[in-house]
Amino acid sequence: MVDVTPADAVPPAEVGEVELYHPHSWWTKYVFSQDAKVIAVQYSATATAIGLVALVLSWLMRLQLGFPGTFDFITPEAYYQFITMHGMIMVIYLLTALFLGGFGNYLIPLMVGARDMVFPYVNMLSYWVYLLAVLVLVSSFFAPGGPTGAGWTLYPPQAIMTGTPGGQDWGIILMLSSLILFIIGFTMGGLNYVVTVLQGRTRGMTLMRLPLTVWGIFTATVMALLAFPALFVACVMMLLDRLLGTSFFMPAVVEMGEQLQHNGGSPILFQHLFWFFGHPEVYIVALPAFGIVSDLISTHARKNIFGYRMMVWAIIAIGALSFVVWAHHMYVSGMHPYFGFFFATTTLIIAIPTAIKVYNWVLTLWRGDIHLTIPMLFALAFIVTFVNGGLTGLFLGNVVVDVPLSDTMFVVAHFHMVMGVAPILVIFGAIYHWYPKVTGRMLDETLGRFHFWVTFLGAYLIFFPMHYLGLMGIPRRYAELTDMTIMTESAHHLNSFISIMAFIVGFAQMVFLFNLIWSIRHGREAGGNPWRATTLEWQTPHTPPAHGNFGKELPIVYRWAYDYSVPGAKEDFIPQNVPGSFGLGPSREQP
């Protein structure tokens, strides 16, 4: 059924050689570089740096919630600013940028067997526009009035009114400008990721031979390209409302006894636009995580991924479905009951492809040769956490359950589990997995295990109790709840406990950062393929991969990405670029 071409008869790759840009100076090599690998590191470093700011903001929030009234400098206004910036930075400037800009840039060209992205110059611009967006965002901390405190959803009319921090100052203007810049920068990068997967694949790399990491990043990028324009439209319109006095989103409002000039806008319109972006965004973050975790599990369990086709179809199905569920974020805004029914149904249907993926991960582990390496630990932690967060998603997807829970800590617990902790665990696992390729050295094992256990257990101790707080009716978004009867003694204790755990987990991240920097020079030499993995990025002649990735000739792909523990093969893995005649027992020919 398979025609195995002998290796000597294979002509060299027919892929047209890209005109590689060759850097001439230190500046064009490390700063204004057009090499996707350098851009990936730049993206990752910037995202991590701004992510640290968001981490500190979460500490400040936890200080206030755990020990209310102790810290005078955390005023209610400041608390709202912390919430807003923490959410916005984590979701967009950290997770989206790191998964697509960081991992996408590094892994796509290497995994599909390309020398670089197809439009390297645009790729470079993408990073610099992203950096500009981050700088504009950071500048809002220093602007008069401080950053915006409108909540990460920036709902009008409150987002641009006097009572909200930054509403009539610079805060909201800088926030919206920064988002607009981010979207422009992302579109430049996103075009590259998509077209490189379409056109940059080396000979023999058919779509069904792509590693699932590439499938995840590819589908997520397509979704992001179609979803971010909704945020762009919303931002432009709100910016006009704020600066030029139009009334896209602003209804007639009386503010402090004074009629504002706005008249006739529709705040619900903003919510539709925002969530039309906002819901796909959840999967823009989740799909790359799904893809990466599939590869981590397969590699470290030394077993082919279970149900590869189903995994691909599930990724596509999730991507498509995620565009027709957005209004489940708006149940409490009021809608026609039939709409509520429709969106609840589509929301619950997404659970099917997602569950297929979870079963396939577990079945991949079944009877695998599981190596409990640090990437594997993080991958396993991801499965548990994602199932946990996903199940509470089934609760909240139903209108009748969502309405009473919507404004409570239950929602905070749900989305932190499912799109906060779970993707971050994958990011950590992926960094431990690919760091040896990027730097040529392994991360320190002991520090890594410490980091894993503190992060994993700590994250559960932070977010699991929040479910109970939510079921007790403790509302979210409130800076101060001390005087409410709802805040029982036990709820107070729980809050203090969560805060202390948050500090401990945050401290573990400092250890991780130290490990990242220390291991660049002092880590154990990794060699070219420390995990004995099959995908093309581990087969490069140099580690770290040199400019142009693959030496003189591009690799030719002869097999899928998951040939682990093939019966009859000499080793327990067969790289994708090894010709078919290698180590094949006749048993493999049977379906």
């Binding site: 197809v118 077209v195 056109q199 390209l225 030029l244 006095g245 139009t246 006739g264 498509a320 078919g580």
Partner: protein, 234 residues
């Protein structure tokens, strides 16, 4: 949000058609070797730049569909008062059509290798596009002079916003056209020039299509059309 959902359905249909040609039902774990019988699956024969532009145009289409969606949603409220469109917009539409035609001529000439005609086509397209932009600005001036200001009514705000967005995209296209023209005058390689001219033409035709759509929407014909369709269906 119906407009954007229809647009995404079209995109999904296209993606589905493409995926259906990619053998998604293959069993890769059973297929070793070079897969010589489906080398055609490796990549498209179209130039990479064209595919890149195609993806970009999908994003632009998405953007304008979202503006239109927002427009229709706001239009549904009872206090909607559309503004009268200046007659000048008809002239502008004609000029933009002319611009597209000129670029198409340039494409034909580039394929035949007639450099003079290419230059003529590019210059005409650039000048007519500039004339279109000037015409749009004049239309804005007429409206403001008649008292239809940006902030005085949501319909006005939408009109200025959508036309400005379209104008900005034309402006961006003019940058690309300028670079292509520079190549045409400085003797770029013929096959490279042909590709650039084709890319410009593709972008121009798409923006013309977008303009015709938003013109129909702003003038209210699109709403009437949908209304008729709904009545026929119910």
């Amino acid at each position: 949000m119906s407009v954007i959902l229809v647009f995404l359905a079209v995109i999904a249909g296209f993606a589905g058609w493409w995926l259906s040609h990619q053998r998604l039902t293959a069993k890769p774990w059973l297929e070793q070797g070079l897969a010589g019988d489906f080398v055609s699956l490796d990549r498209s024969a179209l130039p990479t730049a064209k595919i890149g532009l195609g993806v970009f145009l999908a994003v632009v289409g998405c953007l304008f569909s979202l503006f239109t969606s927002a427009y229709f949603m706001r239009m549904g409220l009872s206090d909607w008062r559309p503004l009268p469109l200046p007659r000048l917009l008809w002239l502008n539409t004609g000029v933009l059509v002319l611009s597209s035609v000129a670029l198409q001529c340039a494409v034909v000439a580039a394929r035949k290798g007639q450099m003079d005609m290419v230059r003529l086509g590019l210059a005409t397209a650039g000048l007519t596009a500039l004339a279109f932009l000037a015409g749009q600005l004049m239309a804005w001036r007429q409206l403001t002079e008649d008292g239809y200001l940006l902030a005085s009514n949501p319909a006005n705000s939408f009109f200025y916003l959508i036309t400005a967005m379209h104008g900005l995209h034309i402006l961006g296209g003019l940058v690309g056209l300028g670079r292509t023209s520079a190549g045409a005058w400085n003797g770029a390689r013929p096959e490279r020039l042909r590709l650039s001219v084709e890319l410009c033409a593709m972008y121009w035709h798409f923006l013309l299509f977008v303009w015709l759509c938003i013109f129909a929407v702003l003038a209210g014909w699109a709403a009437t059309f949908i209304d008729i369709c709904q009545r026929l269906l119910t």
